[in-house]
Amino acid sequence: MNNLQTQYSGGMGHIKGDFIFGSSLHSIVRIEVLGRNSNWYKILVNGKLYQSNLPVTVLPGDILLAKAINLNPIKLQLNDLHNAELDSDSLIYLLDKLNVEITDISLEIIKILLKIGKPVIKSSIENLIDLIEKKGKNAALSNLEFLIKLFSDSVNYSKVNENNIQYFQIPIEQLVQLIFSSFIKLISESHTADEINDLANIVVLNLDEEGGKMPTCEVNELLNWTKKNLGSKRNEISKLAAYIFSYLYQKMFFLKVGQSPEFFILKHNEKYQPVFYNLQSKKEDNGSRFLTGSYDLKSELSGPVHIDGIDSGNNININVSLNKQNQNYLVVQKKLKKDLVRKTSLNVNVNLSEKSSAGYAKIKDFHSINRIN
């Protein structure tokens, strides 16, 4: 039996081994899990026996697909199997490789798994089909991509049941919109309730106040506010608390799979704007973990701005792409560097660039900020 080595790369699963594999480059291979001994799995790869420590959670009997991204030494990739849109014949071929019944739902699931780059595992697809049946086909299919992001991982799937499935009827982005709409209704009243001012202290970044403090957006503060106000006599306040509770409930599931949805509310000139982005934990090839996220800021104040961030533990790298502007980039970049140093005391690298007409960033300069002790 040949040994395979397993590694993660940028959050993607790979299987690696030093042998010539009887398959063509970039072809999709079938992996069948025969058994598990400690961290090692006994597997069949296109019918040939190997052992490997797979980077996904599977049980004996499960089947998954992988892409051969290198043949000598062999390297198999478990996710991002296909970048382009696949036709239904190709999807049927892949489902057939997995021994999954071909239905409208299974075709839709595998299409989305491939689109968002998730591993394609038979048990995950079957779990998702089961979930859709529990949830009601029509309701589930309208939010299928959201459900797949959250429940294609077996850790989360094992925790979902008929009692809590109702919390996933609204995708988290839409939940943030509902929280925002309800908040706006309440904060705009002529006499804003104390409860809403308390909530504003947790979630609002107020640009109208010079030197105003950052919102904490701390989950336990938000949870305490929610618990206090779920039973409010005012229907709109209890409804807002219920939306925030659903948000925190969903966030708990996202955190279990290494993702952290974040939201806060911007205030400027008495106008409000919701901000929502998703941060993720990923692994390097060497197993070390890093955090990453991006956000497209759309504001009348700024125009479109793209922000990317990576926290590698020792330092944070920030890339900001702006539309062409009148100001000198170097001046703005220096100001941003100075601002971050003063406010965070972190080891941060900043890269400010101009978006080209094609939407790609042109690097103008690169500045490093040293840690302040």
Partner: protein, 54 residues
Amino acid sequence: MTTENKYEVIMPEDETITEVTDFYKDYVDMFFKLNFVFMQVIEFILKNKLNNEE
């Protein structure tokens, strides 16, 4: 339950509130630093534009 924008408002049971409270009680937010920097960058960008307007 009421209906708002086609979505149901879910009033959680005590058991669910306890589940969420227990989860977040011991939660260490490893995303805190990156999130804080994101907020600072967004604030800076918008304030910088503000300064231009003035």
